[in-house]
Amino acid sequence: MSTLTLSNPPRSTARRASSEWLALPLAGIALLALVILLALPLIAILGQAVHDPDTGVWGLSQVAPILASPALVQQVKNSIAVALTTSLIVLPLAYGFAAALTRSAMPAKGLFRALALIPLLAPSLLPGIALVYLFGNQGVLKGLFPDGIYGFWGIVIGEAFYTFPHALMILVTALSVADGRLYEAATALGAGRVRQFFTVTLPSVRFGLISAAMVVFTLVITDFGVPKVIGGQYNVLALEAYKQVIGQQNFPRGAVIGVLLLLPALFSFAIDHFAQRRQQALLTARAQPLQLRRQPLRDALAFLFCTLTGGALLVILGTAVAAALIKLWPYNLSLTFDHFDFSNVDGGGAQAFVNSLKMSALTALFGTLLVFGAAWLTEKVGVARRLQRPLHLLAMLPMAVPGLVLGLGYVFFFNEPANPLHGLYGTMTILVLCSIAHFYTTAHLTAVTALRQLDREFEAVSASLQVPFWLTAWRVTLPVCLPAVLDVARYFFVATMTTVSAVIFLYTPDTALASVSVLNMDDAGDTAAAAAMATLIVAASATACLLFAALQWLLLRRTQRWRNPG
């Protein structure tokens, strides 16, 4: 048979991929959703800050007196002192840990990495509670802090626990992109280890260090969970905003402080953005991965360092778990599950935990859909690509907006009776929407990175073969991006499960949340119950991580055989 007489290819001419025009309105809807979920609430809080409700005058008339009050000046100073001290403690620790993970040949790296990320599974209130049990008035190690843990050092230690994994992840990334050839060249030129550190290592990670410092600083400045639990009389800015709104219902003053909190966040966002761009330029395509050789002394030191740091993290987590299980600290040390019965305490009890699970699951589901849908349309589908830039800009915004500010913005925007979306206020829906917006940036970046790893001509090839764009998404794009999809869903779930900052202004008695109830129970003096709820949150987050890992493993085995073909 001659190959010249080819059979007629089976193909229907009726099927056309001209359905592509659909992509533009779809991407437009996603963009509109982000405008409503992000831009408008922010505009609302800015408006609130510069609008005097009594006189109806727009301007800085009400801002000036608030800024000038001595109490606020002191709070600003306190916030900066805490943030700077925490950064100075966390950065060296995280750098050492990251260096041990990436630049040594020590054993059990996977275990240490998992250990270091534990704080991500817990609400920021957990370290506060643990510190009370460790160093508080009846603490085990009370003697270490004779003046009491409540105040500056309590906040710093709690924040250090809370921010450690954030700094670590950035530094691990920065340290992973080493060019082995540079070290070989330095060695060949006779540079010693100290000189190599200052001439090769430090320049390559300095932007990572800046970035990590900015993240830690911003997280500390905007967090009110730790100061709420362990701050005592030491008042910081974020806590003040929370008190103004929740305690005194003074929304204008809360708005002004919120906008104030936006400033360091925006500043560090700008610096970080700049640093990231420079960091990327450092890694050339010809870089050779660093070859790690065993060095007993270095590896032993690295192992010791990681054991101590990781051990400290474990002690804090373990204390909270122990607090949840011990009958009555310090008088009756027998174990009990009584504290997990929340029926006699404030804060919503077991229903709050169920609500949190529901909110996290819904956020994971719809957040992943929105993030991947929007990223896919604007990255891959011809006509929708013109919306790529505005979408990206909006998607980067949440990183610069503290949850507290976002939550206040939601109050001002959705609680406005004239708003047609007013009906959402006080529902589970608004909690989910707020959480999606709050954690959008990281999810978006993950999605975009995964999508950009795909050959950019897949859609062009499909169009030439007259296959509609959504079929290619289903058959190729989604299967190839599946690990990233699961990553994003897991991230949404865990972040939503542990968050306090944005949702604390939005929940109602019907939609009480686990992380918020930790705060309320602690406030009411039910510290053991708070510890129990915090433990439940950690357990739920950890279970979710394990489930996602199992799901990923199963899917990789079942449908992703092409990744490692035999």
Binding site: Q466, R475, P479, R561
Partner: protein, 398 residues
Amino acid sequence: MNPSAGRNRYQNTAPQALNKRTVENAKAPMHRDLPESLTMNSTPYLSLSGIQKRFGAHTALSGIDLTIRQGEFVCLLGPSGCGKTTLLRIIAGLEGMDSGRIARDGRDIGRLPPAARDYGIVFQSYALFPNLTVAQNIAYGLTGRREDKDRRVTELLALIGLPAIAGKYPAQLSGGQQQRVALARALATSPGLLLLDEPLSALDAQVREHLRGEIKALQRQLGVTTIMVTHDQEEALTMADRVVVMNHGVIEQIGTPEQIYRQPASRFVADFVGQCNWLTGTVLSPGQLRVGDGIVSAPAASEFASGTQVELFLRPEDVQINPRWEPSPNSALAEVQQIELLGSLYRLTLSVPQWGNLPLLADISHRQLVQLAIGDGQRLPVQLPAASLRCFGTAEAA
């Protein structure tokens, strides 16, 4: 079914092409057909007119006019950034044009979406779907009954000479195999037009050379009109029926490979498609020029007025080395400065004192090198065949 039919067919046609070529022009360096000798109708199949494309302040394409006949293999050749890929993407509908018209079989397709244009495309990266098997990749654009699809895939795998790889994933294939699978996928729906965007540039030199022949043979066998973008002049010269040389968004020359190589229309084309010698001279009288202290006659210069400065162009293989010095037109003594082995031939770098110490490249065969006993520093009589000299005004050369 003969899995290697494509290759066999090419081997059958190649000697004929060689014979024809030998009759027409004994010096022709390439063994290939002229497009006129192909059985094709000469009405334009695809015609582009006045295509204009800007990216911000940068003009990517301006005033592109091109007609392509049914069954023709056209190469868009040029350096990176010349607009050749943009032009291909405009033809494919992947990029919009600012103005201009694209007609196919008389029908305006310039504003149609890619899916409505009926073409197959192979990208430099191949863009094979990594999570689909070879068979699934090839069948991607096919619709209808499963057995029809399977039959078609089997045929195409046989056509590309890889019958046994249907169940493999792209990551399991070599670069050359991936390239052929991408080609099969593009051809699966029997498109009227095949677009190839630098399809060979990601491959090793040997595989590339082999696939050149395969693709060309396949294209001729199927008679599919093909446009290939490449920056490799050798690829363009060996594969194309016609070559379109582009630079800075405009077409410099359209012609058969012979025309492009032997009669470049501009200094850019001459430089881009091969090595050349450039001699700066002043026209003395029609056909006579002063180069350095010598006189060179070149009929091609007769269209230039006396006193104008011109540049003479000559390929290194056209420089003639004589066994002994005889006073004859366009001859001079040259000193050998460097001898370089290029593989099948030697390239001499010569310096000619009489022509103003002009550096001159000359390609000679191994046999010639031995016969003339050429060595470093030696003096050789060289001659420039007047008929081979082409002449460009210096304004154009600048």
